[in-house]
């Protein structure tokens, strides 16, 4: 929980990692370049006073994670998202065993999401069933750009991906987090294209699709899709740190998201340890759309509360203490898209 000016905010960090990017875990040059790329993201977008050294960034371990997320980072609950990258790292990039161990020790505070890869076919479906039972999965994180042998990526609308989504429905895995990133295959198309999410979202209405990074750098395509589908959400991982380096750009993105997809469909995430959550939460609570940006309505305290935790709590059925919930005015139903007045 975070308190500021008498207002209390229930915090759910819906995208955190426990990774090992150290040299001994790298399979090849791509693994090294991957963690270096993350480190550049971190260095470029973090305020100086919270920047990490490279070695600690490559591996920080469970104790530091708990400190950064909960002791210093205000979170009431946090959700592990798994990034496998088996072709780049020996024991995967995400340290699944350690994350699961932490989750078991702190079941009230942590949720563990695993991943699947439809290119493993029938065998992978068996793994998914076993993982669902072992971890009690409520969500999965998919990385459609991941390399797998000769394949350089897949689409959610591929026949095998659909088989896996149907299995998720049967297993009660209702939250599908999707990361869009550069892929190689099919190389002649735009790898950040979110249209495959559109195709499956309308076919699987009982699943929620949380598009991480809000489809950046294709924000407009994401917004357009999300307005058509009732079950598409925007995750703010990677968007958040612009609040420091590019506050006016951050204002525009938040303004666009509130206009197109609305305050009930946006979820906060630090993407830890890409960035530490403490400063992101503090800055967001203090944030306001600049007055000269008349295209966008001011952001309200209730909207911030929803984004920082209440929306994700709903997706994952996380109990919110009554004093931290939003008091709904009797005369009005919230959820009306909040756009500019004109």
């Amino acid at each position: 929980m975070y308190t500021k000016d008498g207002e209390k905010y229930f915090i759910v960090d819906s995208h955190i990692h426990l990774w090992d990017g150290r040299a001994q875990n790298q399979k090849n040059i791509h693994g090294k370049q991957f963690i270096d790329c993350f480190f550049d993201y971190h260095t470029n977008l973090s305020p100086d006073e919270v920047k990490w050294g490279y070695d600690e960034y490559c591996y920080y371990g469970p104790d530091r994670l708990m400190r950064d997320i909960f002791d210093e980072g205000y979170a009431d609950h946090a959700i592990f998202q798994t990034t496998m990258l088996k072709d780049f790292f020996h024991t995967m990039f995400s340290q699944s065993d350690q994350a699961w161990e932490l989750t078991q020790k702190n079941p009230e505070r942590l949720t563990y999401n695993h991943s699947f890869d439809p290119r493993f076919g029938e065998e992978g479906l068996d793994w998914l069933r076993a993982d669902a039972e072992k971890f009690g999965l409520r969500g999965v994180k998919l990385y459609t750009a991941e390399w797998n042998g000769q394949s350089r990526g897949y689409k959610l609308s591929d026949p095998w991906a659909r088989r896996y989504l149907e299995e998720c429905l049967a297993l009660g895995i209702k939250n599908i987090h999707v990361h869009k990133g550069p892929t190689l295959k099919p190389l002649d198309r735009d790898a950040f294209d979110v249209h495959d999410v559109d195709a499956v979202a309308s076919d699987y209405l009982d699943l929620n699709f949380i598009v991480e990074h809000c489809g950046l750098p294709r924000l407009e395509d994401f917004c357009w899709i999300a307005t058509q589908e009732s079950n598409v959400y925007g995750g703010l991982s990677v968007v958040m740190p612009f609040i420091h380096t590019r506050p006016r750009y951050f204002a525009q993105v938040i303004g666009e998201l509130l206009y197109w997809i609305g305050e009930d469909k946006i979820t906060f995430a630090s993407d830890y340890a890409l960035w530490t959550p403490k400063w992101l939460i503090e800055r967001f609570v203090d944030f306001q759309i600049p007055e000269d940006m008349t295209d966008y309505a001011p952001i309200t305290t209730d909207q911030k509360k929803k984004i920082l935790g209440l929306n994700a709590a709903k997706l994952y059925d996380i109990d919110v203490p009554p004093e931290l919930a939003i008091k709904i005015p009797e005369e009005a139903e919230t959820g009306v898209a909040v756009g500019a007045s004109s």
Binding site: N44, L184, K185, L187
Partner: protein
């Protein structure tokens, strides 16, 4: 002779200014993606770098191929080599462009077609963003949302917004006559007054998306290559 070569080098840099990052809709020179350009006799060599090792290879290919064409277009330049540095697909792209293999020839196992559709899609986005900037200009000049569907190119004051819109219209084969409407659909068709606000709002999202991407890429380039921070051009 030195004077001829330095003039030729200047001409190569000028030619490279016309090469755009298709995603960011900005010149690779302004983005500081060009690390060096040298001319030796009739041969030009250009070295390029990108913000990350994993930048999409299809866009990288387009920039390398366009840089090759730009360098070769300079009078007196009879051969050119373009070297993309520090990228996971550097070898495939550099040798593919040098051999004139095309995109499919450079990535025979991974690409099904050339990049014409991809390029077209991003030219379309660039036009929409330029159209939004032009409409913003008109609104500041006193036009209203309701009257905007009637605004014509001739109504746009001379300046950056107008220049940019004309260039982007040309890229997507829309006519440039002064009587043409400013606010149009992707196909150039008029927008009904009732749809004007939605069209403008969508165009705004396109512009925010492209600008944001450019911010991110500039920042990452400066972090990856300290000292490379480019002066931001007015957008």
């Amino acid at each position: 002779m030195t004077g001829v070569l330095s003039d030729r080098r200047e001409a190569v840099v000028d030619a490279l200014r016309t090469v755009l990052d298709p995603e960011l809709d900005e010149s690779i020179v302004d983005l500081n993606f060009v690390t060096s350009s040298t001319v030796d006799g009739a041969h030009a060599e250009v070295r390029l770098r990108l913000p990350t090792y994993f930048c999409s290879p299809n866009f990288a290919y387009l920039m390398v191929a366009d840089a090759y064409d730009a360098a070769r277009s300079v009078p007196g330049v009879e051969s050119a080599s373009i070297v993309l540095e520090d990228h996971f697909a550097s070898d495939a792209i550099n040798s593919g462009v040098a051999a004139g293999a095309g995109f499919v020839g450079s990535f025979p196992d991974e690409a099904g077609s050339e990049l014409d559709d991809l390029r077209r899609n991003f030219q379309r986005k660039a036009h929409v963003a330029a159209m939004e900037r032009a409409c913003r200009r008109l609104l500041a000049d006193g036009w209203t949302i309701e009257s905007l569907p009637h605004a014509r190119l001739a109504d746009l004051p001379a300046g950056a917004e107008r220049e940019r819109l004309l260039r982007r219209r040309a890229d997507v084969d829309l006519p440039l006559d002064p009587g043409c409407l400013v606010l149009v659909g992707d196909d150039g068709a008029p927008v009904a007054p009732d749809d004007a606000l939605l069209r403008l709002r969508f165009a705004r999202a396109v512009r925010v998306s492209i600008d944001g991407n450019a911010h991110f890429c500039r920042g990452l380039l400066a972090t990856r290559y300290p000292g490379s921070a480019a002066e931001e051009v007015s957008r």
